[in-house]
Symmetry: C2
Subunit: 338 residues, 2 copies
């Protein structure tokens, strides 16, 4: 497919010829081993590399060594701010360790996710990081035996698979407890669709209410999107017995709730107080600024990369649980500048 008239790329043989050495020596210089090279010879080789603009052919290296120095990252949607922050963080963490990242979007579809995992793994990636769209990933058929794999941002421990995720139970508890501490006695929940198990964010909300001696507020289940939050907001706050506050399971949904409240003519936080979950950059710039339970995206990504690069495929598995942190804006009713 590449242009037939294009000049052939510079190979190790060209460098060897130019420097008057064997091809082995070129490799020894490039990798600084495994055999020693006389410094004068090495200097000649380095010169040739510079002059000719030689860079090793990564495909040949991958074929020969069995390692591509690439990681695969399968993500639900790259155009969702939360996921794009995660993708950026994965790219940073991988880059810091000398790895490039092959990113692939599953568009939130389980079948496509499986497809992308297989296709990425055929590219000889050294590891696979998957933000699965499945709540409890059915991964028995997915895994390429011997390919290190880590699930990123799972809210549950997934037996037999390495996984990294936030402590959502604790985070949701903290966010909801904050609303309780403001004195609100009626606190609703807008929550994304989970699988058969109860979402830990819902569990955390419920626990916090009970711990605070507050009755369960209304629940609206919806998509994890701005549009989903908007629909949920109209439903929850268009009703006569609207709650005084709400905990929302993602920033994107909270942005939709804000729009709904705006249209309904309700003010935040004086009519309705909000705490959401994620801590994206977008939440820092809503009006008013969202109080939100921040997922430590950079730490999660780094943990996932480290885990996948150090993984033993010997049946051991680990769960890296990272802590969430409540970041106060003005939407909860706190007396902050914004």
């Amino acid at each position: 497919m590449s242009n037939p008239s294009s000049p052939r790329a510079v190979t190790r043989a060209d460098v060897a010829r130019y420097a008057g050495v064997s091809t082995s020596v070129v490799s020894y210089v490039v990798h600084d081993g495994p055999r020693p090279v006389a410094s004068a010879t090495a200097a000649r080789v380095r010169d040739a590399i510079r002059v000719l603009g030689y860079r090793p052919n990564a495909s040949a290296q991958a074929l020969r060594t069995g390692s591509s120095k690439m990681l695969g990252f399968v993500v639900p949607e790259l155009d969702n701010p939360f996921w794009s922050e995660v993708a950026d963080a994965v790219g940073h963490a991988a880059g810091a360790r000398g790895y490039d990242v092959l990113m692939s979007s599953s568009h939130g579809d389980a079948a496509l996710e499986r497809d992308r995992m297989r296709s990425v793994s055929a590219r000889q990636v050294d590891g696979l990081i998957v933000a699965s769209v499945m709540t409890r990933p059915d991964l028995s058929t997915l895994v390429d035996p011997g390919l290190p794999m880590v699930l990123l941002n799972t809210f549950f421990e997934v037996p037999e698979f390495a996984s990294t995720g936030v402590d959502a139970l604790r985070g949701a508890h903290e966010g909801t407890t904050h609303l309780v501490s403001h004195g609100y006695r009626s606190i609703g929940l807008v929550i994304g669709h989970a699988g058969s198990d109860m979402d830990l964010r819902e569990q955390g909300w419920q626990n916090a209410l009970r711990d605070g001696g507050v009755q369960d507020g209304p629940i609206v289940r919806t998509d994890f999107s701005r549009a989903g939050g908007y629909a949920a907001g109209l439903r929850m706050f268009g009703a006569p017995n609207r709650p005084r506050a709400v905990f929302v399971s993602s920033d994107m949904q909270a942005v939709g709730v804000l729009r709904a409240l705006y249209e309904l003519g309700l003010s935040v936080p004086s009519d309705v107080a909000i705490v959401s979950f994620d801590g994206t950059a977008e939440a820092d710039f809503t009006n008013p600024q969202l109080s939100t339970v921040r997922q430590p995206v950079a730490a999660m990504a780094a943990a996932a990369v480290d885990r996948v690069l150090s993984q033993e495929a010997d049946g051991q598995w680990h769960r890296d649980l990272v802590p969430a942190e409540l970041v106060l804006g003005a939407s909860c009713g706190c007396d902050v500048r914004r």
Copy 2:
């Protein structure tokens, strides 16, 4: 680096052995050519492939054929909503044509961008799509001769390089003219830092004012970010002679301007009307919804992918100019629902 105890991946030789044919025949079946295979034989091979779970080693294929079926995409920042929408679109467009995408962030740094381009190109990508951080990319030293390359989202024609970009002059003109048509006679500009040339969005704003018989409004130059827009907003609207309306060069900046106006106690659109540029999903959900000049991101990405895949490295170059479209929200003062 891969696990030493991991089972060796299935190769073509395993399939051949299992099916009782030569390795050549396996390839013929996989690719449906170039030599014919008896249907009974082909069926046996397909069976073996299925049973063993064989997938061709992409590194070996890339080495042998010179084509990796991968495209490289170098992007300033993956966690910026506009760029993540572009990245998603590039992924879609490439996937539809059978290509995976190696994404790499330059973090807005020209030196790093060069570095990423070189590293991606060493991976035998079949083409390189670059959203350059340079206003007028100095690419003479960057290009890998023979590697098809396309610049994405350049606002200028870049001689000697294939490029794809939006018709920003026309788009900015249309957005500003819309403000003029609302009757506003004082229309400022918040514009990102460009290079030495005048940004076409600034030019379009200026042309529209002059065409409409309106005096030039104040200009504030700032970063292409929410924080940049916020600072610009405080400066432009905290002053006594604030303009009645403003054209903002990106949605992210407009989000920052909205925050500044919120803090200043000014209402949109009754005190200040806004039209911005980009048309990201985030702009659809600000309060009020931003009126914005939408870049057709999917079309741009598709054009860039098509161009890079069809490129002749024969010295010809093209510019694909895609049209922008004004999407009306409520921030301009239009009487729409939101």
